[in-house]
């Protein structure tokens, strides 16, 4: 804990900004029902009102309160993106590390499967699969996670390849250790800093990916509030000079920029430690 405080004290201003934004959004997401002045899908006023005392950011295309929608949207967007990233990392990192450590046919098999998936543009592949399987939230999470895990697999495999040729891994092999021990105890701790940095970046990509899926109508379905779908639903307003779609777009930008600031700081730090 002390170390953490010390670490924060030495952090650059950009990283602090990022951390504050992330913390605030997490609090908002957790306490959404308490903070939101109106319900998630409650129609409270006329369509596309501009800001007023009752509705600080106005209302959306159905007359729902924009602030409440944004607050509930934080909950859905962040939670879904986080869960998806976790699954993508769990699957991708474990398979990647195992492939690099064992080598041989298993590595070949996994790598070729990944190659096949990576050969298709992800968005088109995702649209196709989601059109077939339907667009419930669990399906969305699993499909996006598996598609993204191919990228994580590549990274984890490349990292582990470099570590697996180190003599301490040879020493463990000579001792007769099982592959699982070597992956878990010898390789993973050394690959972790790079994986964590990648986690932050992947989270951003997945966040944007789900937003773009929602924007195309195959992501999170109405009336669930989600920043990506909010942009789509309100996009017509721009024609009338109403800025309603810019609010959810702005929050998406804010959170991705914040996460990247923190990730940059982390990358810089781990580079310093290595040097």
């Amino acid at each position: 804990m002390k170390n953490l405080i010390k670490l924060l004290k030495t952090s650059p201003i950009s990283a602090r900004f990022g951390l504050i934004v992330i913390t605030l959004s997490l609090i908002v997401a957790l306490l959404a029902p308490l903070l939101a002045p109106y319900g998630e899908s409650e129609i409270v006023a006329q369509v596309w009102l501009s800001s007023s005392h009752d509705h600080p950011l106005g209302t959306d295309q159905l007359g729902r309160d924009m602030v409440s929608r944004l607050i509930y949207g934080a909950r859905n967007s962040i939670a879904i993106a986080f869960l998806t990233t976790m699954i993508a990392f769990g699957v991708g990192a474990i398979l990647g590390l195992i492939a690099a450590t064992t080598g041989g046919w298993l590595d070949n098999l996994l790598s070729r499967i990944v190659d096949i998936f990576m050969a298709f543009p992800t968005l088109i592949l995702a649209l196709m699969i989601l059109s077939i399987l339907g667009t419930s939230i669990p399906v969305l999470i699993v499909v996006v996670a598996l598609l993204d895990s191919t990228r994580v697999f590549r990274l984890a495999r490349a990292l582990a390849m470099d570590i697996a040729i180190m003599e301490f891994v040879d020493a463990a092999r000579l001792r007769g250790e099982k592959t699982f021990y070597i992956v878990r105890r010898e390789i993973l701790p050394n690959a972790l800093p790079a994986l964590i940095a990648e986690f932050g970046l992947r989270f951003c990509f997945i966040f944007l990916f789900i937003s773009s899926l929602s924007f195309l109508g195959l992501g999170i379905q109405p009336p669930t509030a989600d920043w990506g779908s909010m942009v789509r639903e309100n996009s017509g307003a721009i024609n009338f000079g109403i800025i309603a779609p810019l609010y959810p777009a702005g929050t998406i930008a804010l959170i991705t920029v914040s996460i990247n600031l923190v990730v940059d700081w982390f990358l810089q730090r781990s580079a310093q430690i290595r040097a």
């Binding site: 003599e167 301490f168 040879d170 020493a171 105890r185 701790p189 050394n190």
Partner: protein, 542 residues
Amino acid sequence: MMNKDRLLTISNLQIEGRQDEQWKPIVRGVDVHLNRGQVLGIIGESGAGKSTIGLAAMGYAREGCRISGGTINFLGQDLRKASERELENIRGFKIAYVAQSAAASFNPSHKLMTQFAEIPLEHKMMSMAEIRQKAVGLYTRLFLPDPEGIGFRYPHQVSGGQLQRAMVAMAMACDPEIIIFDEPTTALDVTTQIEVLSAIKEVISRSNCAAIYITHDLAVVAQLADRIMVLKNGQLVEEGQARTILAEPKEKYTADLLAVRRQVKEIRPAIKEEPLLKVENITAAYKTGLPVLHNVSFDVHRGRTVAVVGESGSGKTSVARVITGFLPQTEGMVYFDGLAMSPFLKRRDKDRLRKWQMIFQMPDVAVNPRHKVKEIIGRPISFYYGSGKKEIRKRVDELLDMIELDPSYVDRYPSELSGGEKQRVCIARALAANPELIICDEVTSALDQLVAEEILKLLQRLQDELKMSYLFITHDLATVKAIADDVVVMYQGRVVEQGARQEVFTPPHHEYTELLLSSVPEMDPDWLDHVLEQRKKKEKNV
């Protein structure tokens, strides 16, 4: 005290390096002076600041370092005050630098001649035709084969020793006033080292330039230097004429450096029992390509040390890889304790694996940087014996005591240990399994000489106490003398000579053993001249 032969005067040089956000001293007030025609040897162990001083002589400080005090006077000009422009006209031109690894210093995509011509062309000194002529002249003087044609080859088309000499030629292209040699032979085999050394000596003695020769090896510097400076932790320990320092060192540190590598193991009679490890007619090859081992056989007896000696490419490391199961052999068999071992590591059973352990060349990468010492040493105990936490802790303390490290080291990470301490931890990790045989792959070559000697002494003491056998893979004959009972000499994947150490090391030798033995530098300033003379005589007789 200005004299007209004085080229370089460095006084009270202070250099700092950036570490943990702070400037820490690397060189603390060193004076260096160099006259025309002189060779100054700078020796010291790693961290002594010798390379840093060498670079400072060109007014240069490495990334993360700064020259914080003192003056560097080259021919009346203070290099610390010189502009980048002026320095460019000096570096590579008036003062040239020969780095440790020629392979890393040459651009792999240009021919040697193109790189040779770079600086002369930039300074518009000579025409291309003159440059070619000059290069061929230098290549000839450096005894490079085919001096006319070698300049038109790419760096990867010549051997390591030849490349190092080509780099010396490049440094001499503009007839510099000073050449700085930074460990130019350290990465080379002994038989190649002697070629490069004699070429450097020849070239320096014929030209009018001065040289600074930086190395950790006193025996090497003794062959070239007129004057020697001994450094430790960025400070001067002793300075004097080469012969004086070698004959009667004033400081204990210098005496220690001189005494190093003179350790000789007592002769122990051979045993006539069933060998612990029997390597029989091994032939092996990497996936693609020709066999790297041809019909290799030797035995390791209980309680004895066998050294497998050879240069890079001799197949000595491949032997270790076959025995450990990393490189399955195509023919032949390895027997341990009378039982045939599967060529494949995965098919060997755990108890058998426990009985031989390995210590690696690079202690830095042989321990997991994210594990604490107690985990590194403790893992074999829990893995092989399934011991509980308390037992492991007790045994770890015991092992730390055996390798002469304080019990408080258990909670340290490898980054908090020195190179020698890391190697000790590796030894403890091997001992933790209670092995009958330890394979030591170049265990001292990454360490400073004094530290290496301590490690060898430790290994010897452990063998006396625990009666283990050692299989030493090494290129260093001083190590062999210090620790081996039996010697296997390898050359190009074959065993050329083997037997008890005293037999292999007393004439008559196999031709290659002879070459190897005579190439090891001795602490005698006349050694190089003698060896070269003898070799010439022999050639005449043939």
